[in-house]
Symmetry: C2
Subunit: 102 residues, 2 copies
């Protein structure tokens, strides 16, 4: 039934820091271009909330996702993002079943 | 800044109906193959909750997304899904900024 691992993470930036956080997370997406196991890393903002940044990810499996967090380049970028993040409001692990655009 | 319209919808199926709901939503994804404006329509389940089905969508814009809801084929499939759905727990509209896999 499950074809991939999905993750939705909802960040709350400190007031006024959303744009800077978005830019850093877009850098993470570029850093992940080298990872074939990373199928998607999409950065979005929420129209109704000036501090929310949402990242939707799809990976071949959760193991590869976890391994990416040990990548020095990805770790360094995430360290730069931390001061901008007030909280990680929600993180939903998903079993991706299928659909269009994978 | 915004390159697309994104939507995350979290459905709660009636107990025992998750698989049937997933299958119908996968039919919606097939029905949307004809829509170039629909970049993604991904159906996932949540490991921690046997009744949750999550659909993540990316469209060129919200207008095309709304128009798809008037499509007779899509409408008919959604009607079949309704009896299986206990609630639509959450629906988050997003401005997609960018990333990998779009």
């Amino acid at each position: 039934m499950k074809i991939a691992f999905g993750l939705i993470t909802k960040f709350k930036a400190h007031p006024g820091n959303r744009k800077a956080l978005v830019n850093i997370l877009l850098e993470v997406a570029v850093g992940l271009e080298q990872y074939n196991a990373c199928i998607q890393y999409v950065v979005s903002v929420n129209e109704d909330d000036p501090e929310t940044v949402i990242v939707t990810e799809v990976w071949t499996d959760s193991g590869h996702h976890k391994a990416s967090l040990d990548n020095e380049e990805v770790k360094a970028i995430i360290e730069r993002a931390k001061p901008l993040i007030a909280s990680v409001e929600k993180s939903i692990n998903m079993d991706v079943i299928g659909g269009k655009g994978l």
